[in-house]
Symmetry: C2
């Protein structure tokens, strides 16, 4: 095989009470990366589309190639590669755009070079790629994009990835308002300290959400999908947040919250028709505040990246 094309999914991180420790993968949107063997003995980015010229072509600065370089260095492999990156989602959308591109590259090279490394071995290279964009070693987008499904990152030191069983009929409606929120900016507005009782409540909802998923208890998922650490502050960065959330709940969403650091919002439901109804209501409510919006409807993506 001389060339490979890989799709890597967008992901919803934080998921309410799972701030920094939970995320799940979507079927759409997602980025595509093409990796071709080359005789030039260097890693080069030959094309980036869908980024409005914003992403770096320098392989030492781009999430996709930094992840690949980390993998190749770790495996002591010298190889020439030409890489195309096709962005299919907004940068700074809150949908794990940089994570999707990092995972796509690492996953593609693992397959192209027949390295047969496990996801556990690939994760740190995806995180190295993601670091270039977010300047933080977070796995709450990278891990779901790589493993698929719903991921609990119990701890980072060492990293402890736990895949959570989900109801088979869980749908996700995504609204992506056309504004950009930088993760680092969204992090600055958080409080460095929280009240003890807030920490206790976050732990309760975090555990409750996981039980809800594992027991197919949608009422419990709804009650538990409450975030005390980020949503109270970050929701203010999203024009019309409360109205959009109310619109989703009014047409039957299980619950609705911010994805990642925003501005995208997600809502859960149990059927495709409900998910479509919810996303229309969210878009309609949002249109009063933001001139352009994208929407997606997806079941949870249980498999992660795929070779196209």
């Amino acid at each position: 095989m001389e060339s490979i094309k890989v799709f890597s999914p967008a992901s919803v991180s934080n998921v309410g009470p799972g701030f920094d420790i939970m995320g799940f993968a979507l079927h759409q949107p997602g980025d595509e990366v093409i990796v071709k063997k080359s005789n030039l003995n260097k890693i080069e980015i030959t094309k980036i589309s869908g980024d409005n010229g914003r992403l770096p072509l320098n392989p030492n600065e781009n999430t996709t190639t930094v992840g690949i370089q980390s993998l190749l260095k770790d495996q002591n492999i010298n190889v020439g590669l030409k890489i195309e990156i096709h962005k299919k989602m907004g940068i700074g959308s809150g949908l794990g755009s940089s994570a999707a591109s990092a995972v796509a590259g690492v996953f593609a090279v693992n397959s192209l070079l027949n390295l047969n490394l496990s996801n556990d071995e690939l994760l740190k290279h995806c995180m190295a790629g993601e670091y270039v964009a977010s300047k933080a070693f977070h796995a709450d987008n990278v891990a779901p994009a790589l493993y698929g499904g719903f991921i609990l990152i119990r701890d980072y030191n060492p990293i402890d990835i736990i895949k959570i069983d989900l109801p088979s009929d869980l749908y996700c409606s995504i609204l992506y308002p056309d504004i950009e929120i930088k993760t680092c900016e969204a992090r600055k507005i958080l409080k460095p300290n929280v009240k003890l009782k807030t920490a206790i409540s976050q732990a309760g909802n975090s555990a409750g959400l996981i039980v809800g998923f594992m027991k197919n208890d949608f009422e419990l998922i709804s009650r538990s999908l409450v975030d005390h650490l980020a949503e109270p502050f970050r929701s203010k960065l999203i024009p019309g947040y409360d109205k959009i959330r109310d619109a989703a709940l009014n047409v039957g969403a299980i619950n609705c919250n911010i994805t990642g650091s925003g501005p995208s919002m997600f809502a859960f439901s149990t059927s495709e028709s409900d998910a479509l109804k919810i996303v229309r209501a969210m878009k309609n409510a949002s249109s009063k505040f933001t001139k352009s919006n994208k929407t997606y409807v997806s079941k949870i993506n249980l498999t992660g990246p795929k070779i196209l």
Copy 2:
């Protein structure tokens, strides 16, 4: 029926990362309460044993009778009752002594008067009784003592009780060092604020512990049984804490932590022989620091109170 005798179990609350939101019931120790109908049209405590004269005979000040009074008032029942309370565990032991007595009384009256109220209906009366002793509306001892099993209290407003499935072969070793730690004192030494990253880590371990229980994953239970909110401060109140914990881990405990506000400590294992070995190691390590210790070994009590 003119009289009833009820056993209500001790419980382990907090359970590492479940500070204020988790607890489970034991088969032993536990308190016994006898409730007899009387013609005197008043609630009176006729006997208390095992308390070294420390518990109030005034029915308005005793956890058992305050719980009963709350129940009777709520149900608009005027009845005379004579009550005996037999304490079978230390006051201030960290094993939910006041909760056991409160639950025993409420459970006994519900049965004696054929009220047929559910645990969900009885809980608030047990909490009212517990309040007299702890001056706080906590359910992390009362709920496991009443419902049995392992309880997650997702939220208090309104109260949300979630029973967690457990591995069938989970054993608990308890060491009760002969010192007293008052819950209110143990609460004062906690910090009113915690770092954001501490809150995130607590939520991760809290969710991880629940997944470990639900998936019979003892490695995950072990890794998740970490508390950042209370143990770092409260462990200093227990003489030889680190040595006792090390002793438990050295002979194979899954993990070991403080029960409630201490001084008792608990350790998990997967067989009775391991549990006995662990409790002996804990007692031996503790004997260098505390002159007298009690120990218990118990599976998780899945049923709660029982009529004797």
